[in-house]
Symmetry: C2
Subunit: 182 residues, 2 copies
DNA sequence: CCTTGCGGAATGAGCGTTCATTCATAGACT
DNA sequence: AGTCTATGAATGAACGCTCATTCCGCAAGG
């Protein structure tokens, strides 16, 4: 069992991360124990600590995964506005993602690292969306950023509700949001 | 020390609740221990359990307090739209309230009781706001409910961000929101 | 002197983390 | 090709600590 190939290492890490994400999503970070993760992932206690320094490292890795890197403002042309909006709606209605996000928002009240992560992502996604809005309207304006911010807040609010099972008329929401965008 | 007057009981309960709310707000429910609450409230361990059956009872009481009962759709005339919106903005920018709310959203993923509480409040506030929108526009329409839902989601999104220290242009947000309302 | 609110030490379950041990494998040597 | 050995990934019992909760003795009001 000597050498650990980089590929196998990634695979192993991902196994742990997947199990952790599923548990974190429905129980939250603090109410999921390392023992739970060990059991769900099928590896041994010590193995988890080979791949992650401590529980917080697992939490951060899962959080980063859930907040998503898909919305990069600096890669090529902005997405057409309707595609951008659809991507946001898809993210908002993903149950698992939403649940983890809610735990991230909550934990941010006591974690400076999570606050930084959230603030960074907010700014990034905001720029990303503003570019699409600008492109659609023809001329760039500072109002696009404000409009983007409002839309993102609405999307977050929808995400929370979907995550905790509140019934929301998603189609009507989408329509209202599209009208708001442009 | 014989009789416990009802007034004194309420007072004692509130002392515990206030201490608990402050701790819950910044550390979250699970990362706040009963010992923490005992220390912060200045009463003894046994006393907390005299006024609350267990930790979950404290959690529920604080949650109900934070979600607020101010927005009652069934009391008299609806508020003028701008006043209603201002009330929502005030709630959204209240740091403590927002922090507790974020913990409530998170815990709802694993608490059916909290899910019910949230869903109930959502419907209630939605009706409350829709009535104000209807009154402002003159004629009632089903679109008012959808518009109210969109606004509430946006307000929740803002609340999360403010609670976790993301810098948002609140004035621009307010403006955009008012435009959206009517 | 009885009643009753109150205090806080005691309890045992469960937590995150550590580390001595095991053993499958890769590669060196015949 | 066959044997041996050094390696290090994997293991899981054990540790020290914190948790929510209990319960009995104390003190004070009627």
């Amino acid at each position: 069992m000597a050498k650990l190939t980089e590929e196998r290492a990634r695979d192993r890490r991902q196994t742990i991360l997947d199990a952790a994400a599923a548990l974190f999503a429905e129980r939250g970070f603090s109410d999921t124990s390392m023992a739970d993760i060990v059991e769900a992932s099928g590896v041994a206690t010590g193995t988890v600590y080979r791949y992650f320094a401590n529980k917080d490292a697992v939490v951060m890795a899962v959080s980063e995964g859930a907040l998503g890197t898909r919305f990069d403002p600096d890669e090529g042309d902005p997405l057409p506005l309707d595609e951008a909006m659809n991507a946001l709606m898809a993210a908002a209605t993903d149950q698992r993602r939403g649940q983890i996000s809610s735990h991230v928002w909550a934990r941010a009240t006591s974690s400076a690292r999570l606050q930084t992560l959230i603030a960074e992502r907010h700014v990034r996604v905001c720029r990303w969306l503003a570019r699409s809005i600008d492109q659609a309207s023809g001329d760039p304006s500072p109002a696009a950023t404000h409009r983007a911010e409002l839309i993102l807040c609405a999307v977050s609010g929808l995400q929370m509700r979907v995550a905790s099972g509140v019934e929301v008329d998603t189609d009507a929401f989408r329509e209202g949001l599209f009208a708001l965008a442009g």
